[in-house]
């Protein structure tokens, strides 16, 4: 469902020289600031003749500097997407994944961070048919009553969870809001095990259901993303369960992207 326009990849479309050239650039690093032709050939598993062609091409293009025997990278390498992407923020990074997730599910998708005892929406992609919810970037909802919020709560240890619930001033936001601590603890335990959270009309009167999953950076949950839908008459809450796989895939892909972000 995500094939790019005009077809799929096959061996004849793959440009080997591009892959190898990038591999040569990436062979340089903290421990390999300067390399000889043999070093580069060894690091990339290319023949000396091939490595030489790529190094000379990169030198011609200004990405590599040669001092006779050794080669090093030049700052021009930063023009290869780096300058453009280095100021990428968490919302920027989340957006393409949410767009994809909305394309797959046909539902609205969001990303949020935890701010105190609230989830704070930092990115959102609306499904076209939904016009009624008031949720937008900047919206805050209490963590204890939302799927994304419970994802954050489930990342806390038991003591910190108690502290968070103490500070939360839990109240009955809708007839379905769970405010019993033991029930919330049990739910949190379940989320820890299964890796996702499902909440059915607990936070907003308009009746929103959401399924949410965690996004990690350096081993910590830094964001949550969700798929949400208005609860339509006669629709079982389990219907969101079928979005579980694409949701988890998107959360993992965003986690992977965040590994590369520059602080």
């Amino acid at each position: 469902m995500n094939t790019p326009p005009e077809a799929s990849t096959d061996d004849s479309t793959f440009v080997q020289s591009l892959a190898r050239g990038i591999q040569v650039i990436r062979a340089f690093g903290a421990e390999t600031t300067e390399m000889t032709l043999s070093d580069v050939a060894r690091a990339t598993s290319l023949s000396r003749a091939t490595a030489r062609r790529f190094l000379l091409t990169l030198e011609e293009l200004g990405y590599v500097h040669s001092t006779g025997r050794t080669f090093s990278l030049t700052p021009k390498v930063l023009e290869l997407g780096f300058s453009h992407l280095s100021s990428l923020t968490l919302p920027d990074a989340a957006k393409p994944h949410l767009e994809r997730l909305t394309a797959i599910t046909g539902e609205s998708t969001s990303a949020a961070v935890l701010d105190g005892t609230d989830v704070l929406y930092i990115a959102r992609v609306s499904a076209r048919r939904i016009v009624t919810t008031s949720i937008d970037v900047g919206t805050r909802l209490p963590a204890y009553a939302t799927a994304m919020g419970r994802v954050f709560l489930s990342a806390l240890d038991d003591d910190d969870l108690d502290v968070a619930l103490d500070r939360s001033a839990m109240r009955q936001l809708t007839p379905r809001t769970v405010i019993d601590r033991d029930l919330i603890r049990a739910e949190v335990e379940r989320i820890r095990k299964q890796g996702w959270a499902l909440v059915d009309r607990e936070a907003l009167e308009v009746g929103l259901r959401a399924i949410a999953a965690p996004v990690y950076r350096d081993g910590k949950v830094v964001a949550a993303i969700n798929v949400s839908a208005s609860a339509r008459e006669g629709m079982p809450s389990s219907v969101l369960g079928r979005y579980k796989e694409p949701l988890l895939q998107a959360a993992n892909a965003l986690t992977e992207d965040l590994r590369h972000l520059v602080y």
Binding site: N2, T3, P4, P5, E6, T9, T13, F14, V15, S17, L18, A19, R20, G21, I22, I25, R26, A27, F28, G29, A30, T32, T33, E34, R53, F54, L56, T57, L58, E60, L61, Y63, S72, L73, T74, P75, K76, V77, L78, E79, L80, G81, F82, S83, H84, L85, S86, S87, A93, P96, E99, R100, A103, D257, L258, R259, H260, L261, V262, Y263
Partner: protein
Amino acid sequence: MAPTDDSSSAQSTPPAYVKSLARGLDVIKAFDSENPQMSLADVARATDMTRASSRRFLLTLEELGYVRAIGREFVLTPKVLEIGNSFISTLPFFGRVRHHLAELSVQVSESTSAAILDSSDIVIVSRVPHQRLVSVSLALGTRYPAWMTATGRVLMATLDPEALEATLANTSFDRRTEHTVTDLEELRTLIRQAGEQGWSLSDGEIDQSLMTVAAPISDGDRVVAAINVAAPAHRESSEEFVARVLDPLLATAEHISSELDTGSATS
């Protein structure tokens, strides 16, 4: 300007030249802040290639994880940052500068950055934004003409006289603001001063609303970069700015330099 096929090679290029590498890298370069998301047709237009060629490069980059398709359009993925990081991590001060810049930023409550000299430009290689300056987006890899920045003057002061004159001879002195110093004699004086006093100030020369003060960092043998503090120009005079941030800046530069010196001596 008919787009040529990927297999054709231009007469002027050497036989070893790998044309499809050059073109593939051009596809990456075509994405920028103005064009973060492009269709196949957009990419073909921006790189002066056929749609068929640009499609092959985009699909290859997608396969490698550097490009992602969203509907009918393409974006670069953050994995692309690894390519630039290969360069950043070859810098001798890689991994040591940023936390010092962060401390300095907290200490003076301003944004800080580090830059290197690349012929007649400076290139930002590390930066710590201060919240007050959220509007100033200073992307890593951003280039400025060295001669009109405090950082550039500090770095140009380390060039030998011939290299300095060669760099200045290669430069067009285009004014950015009414404060930009474009007189060659005055620039030589500013650069000499930067070398003698070990720091430099630029007040509203790149941007009316910005002041910068910079100092060099050295690995014991040579100056490898310069660090700077930038502040909005409207809040205080340049004298007040220098009085406020110069000592912390110089102390940080000295601290980094001594770490680099020790680091290179023990390695």
